[in-house]
Symmetry: C2
C-alpha cells in the first residue's frame, strides 16, 4: 500500500466517498502507516466543506444515543453524516467501544452514515492528531456533517472537541454528573448545551441551573452567539430535530460573520502546531536521536544541563 | 519577583526546604511566571535524589486515603515526604481538589510532609510539565519520597505517572471498576498493584484475578521485577506498612541493576521532549507568530498548503 499507484487510488476512493477506502484510510492513520502523511496532504485540499461538531459530556450522559439519534435526524434531512467515537481513556486497547455495535446496527445498511470508533495507539497527542486526520478524511469523502463524540470530559477530550465548528456539551439530571461537568470547566467550551434524559426528575432544575449560570457570566454582547440550553430524550428521539436545527443555526451564524474564518484559522493553526509537536516527539525518541541530541540528553540525565536549556538547544521554530 | 536577587533567594529557600518558598515556587510554575524557567534550571541541578512514586487508579478507589496513609507510614520511618495531587480532568479551575483539605488536616503541623494539589491551567501538556517541574522543586527541597496522585486513569494520567520511578495502580473490589482499570490498559504500567478497600466482598477475587492476569502475560524473566499485588484498607491503615516496604524494595531493585539509570534517562528525555513540544506550541500561537509563520499558517487555512508540510517547514529539530 505504499506505492504511488495504490496510494493515489486510495485517495481517489476516499474522494468519491467509498466506504472501503474511507475505512482503510482511517486505519492507516491509526497505525501511522508509511506514506499516510502524503495521502492526507492530498486529501486536505479536498476537505474544508463539512460542518464539524464535537460532542462531550460526563460518562453516562447518553452521548452515544444522542449522536445516533442526531445522525438519524440529519439523515432524514438527506445529509451525509460521519461519526467518530473517540476514547482517550483507552490508551492501549485500540478496540471497539462499548455500545459501538448497537449504534452501528441502528444505521446498518445506510450508506449515508459512516461510523468509526478510534482509540489511542502510541504516542502522546496521537489520538487528537488521528482524530483531526480522520475528520479530514470524512470531510474529503463528502460528509456534510462530522460528529465527533468523546467518551469522557478530560483535557484530551476538551482538546479534541475544540477542533470543531460547533461544540455540544451534554449534561444529565440527577446523578451529580452536572456538578462534575461544571467542575471540569467544560461548560465554557459549549456552543450548545444539551440536557439529555430530560424526562428524568430534576431535568427542569438542571436546565434552569445551566441557564442561570450562563446568565451569571458576562452578558453576551450583541452580535455574539448565545449558547442555548436544549432538553432531549435521545432514546425516544425527543428534542433531536430541534437540536439538529440549532446545529445548523450555529453554523449559519458563524458563516454570516467572521466566526467561521476565525474558527477555521484557529483549527488550522492548532493542527499545524500538533503535528509540529508530534514531529519533535518523534525525533527525540531513541530511534530518532543523532549524536548531538544524544549528547545533550546525556547531559540532562547527569544534571549538568537543565531540560529547558536542552529543549531550546534542540528545537528551532521559524517565526 | 522577577529580579535576580529575589529569584536566587527563592531558589535558596527551596533548597533549604522552606515550605513558603516551595509553595511560592510551585505557584510560579502553575502560573508560568516570568523567570521561572531559569529558577527551575538552577533547581534541576540540586534534584535527582528523591524516589518519585506515581499513584493512579479508577475514581473512587480511595487513592487519596491511600496516599495519606502511605505518607503517615513513611513519616513514622522519619522520611520527608512530598505529595502532589494532580487533576487533569479540571482544565480550567485550578482550584483545590475535593477531599484535599481532609488529607491536609491529617498532616497539619507536620513539617515533614508537603501537600499540594495541581490542576491544568493553560496549554496542552501544561499539567504534565507543571507536575514534573513541581517534582523537581520537592526533590530539590530535600523530600526523600514524592508521591504523585492523579484523579483518573486517562492518557494524561498515564503520561503523568510515567514520570515516576515506581508506579502504583489502585483497584478496588466489586463496583466494576476493576474492569475499567483493565480496559484502560493501565495495568501494564504498574510496578506495584494495590487492591484497596480489601475488607470488601470480592477483594480476594480481584486479588486472585489480578495475580492470574499477570501470570497470563509473558513470564517475568529472571532478574526482572515482578509486580506484587497488595491488599490495603487505607482508611484503617491496614497493609500500608507492607506497601511502604514494597516501594523501598522496588527502588532498591532499580538501583541494584541498570533499571534506575534507564528510568531516569527516559524521564530526562521525556521531559526535554515535553518542554520542546511546549516551546513549539508557544511559538505557534498568535502572539508568537512572525511574518513567515503567519504566512505559512495562512496557506494552511486556505488549503493551498497541507498541515504536515507546514509543520515540517516551521520546525527544525537537532538530531
Amino acid at each position: 500500500m505504499t506505492d504511488a499507484y495504490s496510494s493515489s487510488r486510495l485517495v481517489a476512493g476516499v474522494r468519491t466517498g467509498q466506504q472501503r477506502s474511507i475505512a482503510r484510510m482511517i486505519s492507516r492513520i491509526e497505525l501511522g502507516a508509511p506514506g499516510v502523511d502524503l495521502e492526507l496532504a492530498e486529501l486536505y485540499g479536498s476537505a474544508g466543506r463539512a460542518h464539524v461538531v464535537g460532542v462531550t459530556g460526563a460518562p453516562g450522559s447518553g452521548k452515544s444515543s444522542l449522536v445516533s439519534a442526531l445522525a438519524a435526524s440529519l439523515r432524514r434531512d438527506g445529509k451525509l453524516v460521519g461519526i467518530l467515537a473517540v476514547d482517550p481513556s483507552s490508551p492501549f486497547s485500540g478496540g471497539a467501544l462499548l455500545g459501538d455495535r448497537i449504534r452501528m446496527s441502528d444505521h446498518s445498511g445506510d450508506g449515508g452514515v459512516y461510523i468509526r470508533s478510534m482509540a489511542t495507539r502510541g504516542a502522546l497527542g496521537g489520538l487528537a492528531r488521528a482524530t483531526t486526520d480522520a475528520i479530514t478524511v470524512l470531510d474529503a469523502a463528502g460528509m456534510e456533517l462530522v460528529l465527533v463524540e468523546t467518551v469522557g470530559v478530560g483535557q484530551a477530550e476538551v482538546d479534541i472537541v475544540r477542533t470543531a465548528h460547533t461544540t455540544l456539551v451534554v449534561s444529565i439530571p440527577g446523578t451529580g454528573d452536572e456538578i462534575q461537568t461544571i467542575k471540569a470547566g467544560v461548560l465554557e467550551i459549549a456552543d450548545i448545551h444539551v440536557v439529555n434524559k430530560a424526562d428524568r426528575d430534576g431535568a427542569n432544575r438542571i436546565i434552569r441551573d445551566l441557564t442561570g449560570m450562563l446568565r451569571l457570566g458576562p452578558p453576551t454582547p450583541p452580535g455574539e452567539w448565545r449558547a442555548p440550553v436544549l432538553g432531549t430524550v435521545a432514546t425516544e428521539g425527543r428534542g433531536i430535530d430541534a437540536l439538529a436545527a440549532a446545529l445548523h443555526e450555529h453554523y449559519a451564524f458563524l458563516a454570516a460573520g467572521d466566526g467561521l474564518e476565525q474558527r477555521e484559522r484557529a483549527m488550522a493553526s492548532a493542527r499545524v502546531s500538533a503535528i509540529a509537536q508530534n514531529l519533535v516527539a518523534e525525533r527525540l525518541t531513541d530511534s530518532g536521536l543523532g549524536d548531538r541530541a544524544a549528547q545533550i540528553l546525556d547531559e540532562v540525565y547527569h544534571r549538568t544541563l537543565d531540560p529547558f536549556s536542552a529543549a531550546t538547544a534542540l528545537v528551532r521554530v521559524t517565526t
